[in-house]
């Protein structure tokens, strides 16, 4: 599960970047901004879920509380 997560996130980032560039060329600034925001939110959700898993594991392993 580890390796493909990084490639998934990098892929989303690159695709969003290319899409926003294309949209900027087509004089659609707002949609470019919306696409970037959407990509940001998608990746943020993945990251938050991953960090949540890490914190739960650390909590259980170290017996934090």
């Amino acid at each position: 599960m580890e390796i493909d997560l990084i490639f998934k996130i990098a892929g989303v980032g690159i695709i969003v970047a290319v899409l926003s560039l294309v949209l900027k060329r087509a004089e659609r600034e707002e949609q470019a901004m919306m696409t970037t925001l959407a990509g940001l939110i998608v990746v943020l959700m993945i990251i938050i879920q991953e960090i949540g898993n890490l914190f739960n594991t650390v909590k259980s392993v170290f017996g934090l509380w």
């Binding site: 996130i9 980032g13 969003v16 970047a17 560039l21 990746v43 991953e50 392993v61 170290f62």
Partner: protein, 129 residues
């Protein structure tokens, strides 16, 4: 762990390069790649730490002291572990103010954790003199 160290190093190098590639287009995605890489490697390491921790607990149990000192040590290790992650991620985002606040909160938590031990030590010392 020994046979996986190469995989971890390769993973981190790839994540660093991908981060650099992404930095040119939008900075946030580059940050996300580095956060993801840190989280994955830390998750991997913490899974290897749990047998180590149970071994430490056994060693401390063998010393015969009724008190459970090893639990405090392991707890502080966990706090340092997570605080360091938060501190470095905040520094990556060039948010030094937030980073110092995270570090300060980690230190305060550690001090609070260590207060009972200090108390026992002082009582013990005064009882000797």
């Amino acid at each position: 762990m020994v046979e996986n160290i190469l995989m971890i190093i390769a993973l981190c190098i790839i994540a660093a390069i991908l981060g650099k590639v992404l930095e040119k287009y939008n900075k946030e995605q580059a940050l996300f790649v580095s956060i993801a890489a840190c989280t994955i490697v830390l998750m991997f390491i913490v899974l290897y730490l749990s047998p180590l921790i149970s071994m430490i607990n056994d060693l401390f149990a063998r010393t015969g002291t009724g008190e459970n000192y090893s639990q405090t040590i392991i707890k502080s290790l966990g706090i340092c572990y997570v605080t360091q992650l938060g501190f470095d991620i905040c520094k990556d985002c060039n948010e030094n103010a937030i980073a110092t606040v995270v570090e300060l909160s980690g230190k305060v938590t550690l001090i609070i954790l260590a207060i009972p031990l200090l108390e026992k030590l002082i009582f013990f010392l005064t009882s000797i003199i």
